[in-house]
């Protein structure tokens, strides 16, 4: 948020910018590339420089109506067209429409000798012809430094390169100049010295089996810009940047409620189920029924005629369908009629950013109403908990902004599951349901708690969670592990009360009730003890009286015997 404000403040300077065509890039530069000036894009081979340039030109063919020239120093025209076609763009068509001109500089130094004074006027003449041909306002020089390798006289090339930049500036053409990264300087031939308006660096690093790409803006004269290394991907539609500010919290919220697929669970959630476009975390140890709840949720959505996307990082589609069949949930029919789509992939297939991007593309291509991700904890194989949390924050923001209800499962390993989640994502989620297995009297039973449900009153009771051929059902439990109360669910009057606040109040209330119960137990016990005591007291007193009577009788008898004995003595 603060960063966004900084950028806005710096925008006091009125530097005109043109949209870059790179999703996310215009957000971090507050508008795109400097209009009528040159931008240097540098990076290693394969870093995405050509792609950057091509997206920049394609952007000019859309709403902006700024035709462009692609000057290819390395790739041949057919190669370029083939590469661009793989991203879904028809360069041939755009060329025929005179929206883009491709000028391929196909030269090899082997066939060339230098003999005397020369300049690069031929290059200028060709560029001028191409620019006039389409009325270009954009140009990409990819990779212009090839010229330095082509001609031996570096002085001439430098002078001509400087002249070229000025020449483009004089014509008001916005240029992207690509260059390969050098070992010492930023670029091999130090051309960053000449391109002073904007410098963008594309980098790639290997992380295990996956490539991580980052974009950094090293310089942007007269403009504020984000300074982070922004992760990006080269996906099916080219470079896509993940600016942190890309998605805010500014999405519409829904009051609509949708079923979890388990009627008793809906009842626990204020009687109506989840909020639409909310995020729900299901956490639990292995075998506690997370996937079954997922399937039930998806099944209910499809039964309402909604579209669902099931993302599994663990099981194949066939496996999921078969397993759910065993508890009476038929996912196959939804898959067959197209309401349910699966995206099953090992987490190690991509880097974290790519996972985000793939999901983004999937929901853009075929927007679902509900999404389940099972389990997100697997993503921890690909990055630190902070990175995973960051990814999930963006992912959940994205899904919410699209009005999609998301159920995310998390496998908890070891420790006390009540204490926190492994990925520490519970704070991101609107609702948090915990599944546990408890062993009791030689039986292993599943229980379910609703730990948190923002914006609704919800039951704090534990329910036994039963999986059978008839599906999922929840059953009341009367005994549970340590200090659980039973009784009827309370419904809070003010539903709009902030959930955390309410949870606390309910916690206090729950404790009070427990205290009250204990007090009553104590009183009952005291009464019982009192009653018991009274009973025993009476009994004992009676016994004492009886014993005293016995004793009295005995004493009397003794007395009589004494008198009788003394009387007999008197007779003698």
């Amino acid at each position: 948020m603060d960063k966004g404000k900084d950028i806005a403040d710096n925008q006091m300077e009125m530097l005109e910018k043109v949209p870059s065509g790179i999703p996310g890039f215009d957000d971090i530069t507050n508008g795109g590339l400097p209009s009528g000036r040159s931008t240097l894009v540098c990076g290693d081979a394969g870093a995405g420089k050509t792609m950057f340039g091509m997206q920049f030109l394609i952007e000019g063919t859309t709403e902006k109506q700024e035709p462009g020239v692609f000057v290819a120093f390395e790739e041949s025209e057919p190669d370029l067209k083939k590469n661009v076609a793989s991203l879904g763009w028809d360069l041939d068509f755009l060329c025929r429409q005179k929206k883009i001109a491709v000028e391929a500089m196909h030269i090899s130094s082997e066939e060339m000798t230098e003999a005397g004074q020369y300049d690069l006027e031929g290059l200028f003449i060709r560029l001028d012809a191409a620019i006039q041909d389409v009325g270009a306002q954009r140009i990409v020089l990819d990779t212009v430094e090839t010229l330095f390798g082509l001609f031996t006289d570096a002085h001439i090339v430098r002078a001509e390169f400087r002249r070229l930049l000025q020449w483009l500036k004089d014509r008001g053409i916005t240029a992207v100049v690509t260059a390969e990264r050098g070992h010492e300087g930023l670029t091999r031939f130090g051309i960053e010295e000449y391109v002073s308006d904007c410098v963008v660096d594309l980098s790639q690093t290997m992380h295990g089996q996956t490539t991580r790409r980052h974009l950094r803006i090293l310089k942007f004269r007269g403009s504020g810009h984000g300074t982070n290394a922004y992760p990006f991907l080269i996906g099916r539609h080219g470079i896509h940047l993940f600016a942190v500010t890309e998605l805010g919290l500014d999405y519409p919220i829904s009051k609509e409620r949708i079923s979890s697929g388990v009627p008793r669970l809906d009842e626990m959630l204020g009687g109506k189920g989840f909020y639409r476009a909310s995020s729900i975390l299901l956490s639990g140890t292995a075998g506690t029924g997370k996937s079954s709840l997922n399937a039930s949720f998806v099944d209910a959505a499809c039964a309402r005629g909604e579209k669902a996307l099931y993302i599994s990082y663990e099981e194949s589609r066939a496996q999921i369908i078969r397993n759910m069949e065993s508890i009476g949930i038929d996912l196959q029919k939804w898959y067959t009629n197209g309401l349910l789509n699966f995206h099953t992939v090992r987490v190690t297939t991509y880097g974290l950013e790519e996972h985000f991007f793939v999901v983004k593309e999937l929901i853009e291509e075929n927007p679902p109403d509900v999404v389940v991700i099972d389990p997100v904890s697997n993503l921890l194989q690909m990055g630190s908990p902070e990175e995973v949390k960051n990814l999930l924050t963006r992912l959940i923001d994205l899904l919410k902004s699209q009005g999609i209800t998301t159920v995310v499962t998390e496998l908890i390993t070891g420790g006390n599951p009540m204490e926190g989640t492994n990925t520490d994502i519970s704070s991101l989620m609107d609702a948090w349901i915990l599944l546990r297995a408890i062993e009791n009297a030689g039986e292993r039973n599943r229980v379910l708690y609703v730990l948190k449900a923002r914006g609704m009153s919800h039951s704090h009771q534990v329910r036994e969670f039963v999986l059978s051929e008839a599906g999922i059902s929840l059953v009341d439990v009367y005994t549970g592990p340590a200090g659980l109360i039973t009784g009827t669910a309370r419904y809070t009057q003010e539903a709009q009360e902030e959930a955390e606040h309410k949870r606390r109040l309910e916690e206090i209330e729950r404790k009070r009730k427990e205290l009250e119960r204990k007090r009553r137990v104590r009183e009952a016990k005291l009464k019982e003890i009192e009653a018991q005591f009274q009973g025993e007291e009476e009994e004992l007193e009676l016994a004492i009286r009886e014993a005293e009577k016995e004793e009295e009788k005995y004493l009397q008898t003794q007395e009589q015997r004494k008198q009788m004995r003394s009387g007999a003595e008197g007779h003698e």
Binding site: A115, G116, Q117, F151
Partner: protein, 107 residues
């Protein structure tokens, strides 16, 4: 008599086929352009008399030719025949380099 190093020996004595096909690309009638034209004419007369054809192309007038022949630097002398294709850039003031660039060996 100077001789061309001839790759197409199979094409024999036919002067039309064994001759040098040269194109000189210049940018307008600048001093450098004039220089280059004079230099190549002199070299040809001296070393390739009767064995060459030379076409001078002003790319200002014909920008499409710069594209067709992949010309960047000006002036550029292009040798299309005999193969292989060669380019010599510059005002052609360095005669040794021009001859070397055209694969012409001095006897």
């Amino acid at each position: 008599m100077n001789n061309a190093h001839n790759d197409n020996s199979g094409q024999g004595k036919d002067p039309a086929q064994s001759s040098f096909q040269l194109r000189l690309f210049v940018a307008g009638s600048t001093a450098r352009s004039q220089q280059a034209i004079q230099n190549i004419r002199r070299i040809c007369e001296e070393h390739l008399q009767g064995q060459y054809s030379l076409e001078v192309i002003d790319v200002f007038q014909h920008p499409e030719k710069a594209r067709e022949y992949q010309i960047l630097a000006l002036p550029t002398l292009l040798k299309e025949l005999p193969q292989p294709l060669r380019k010599v850039v510059g005002d052609l003031s360095e005669k040794e380099k021009v001859l070397q660039g055209l694969d012409i060996q001095l006897v």
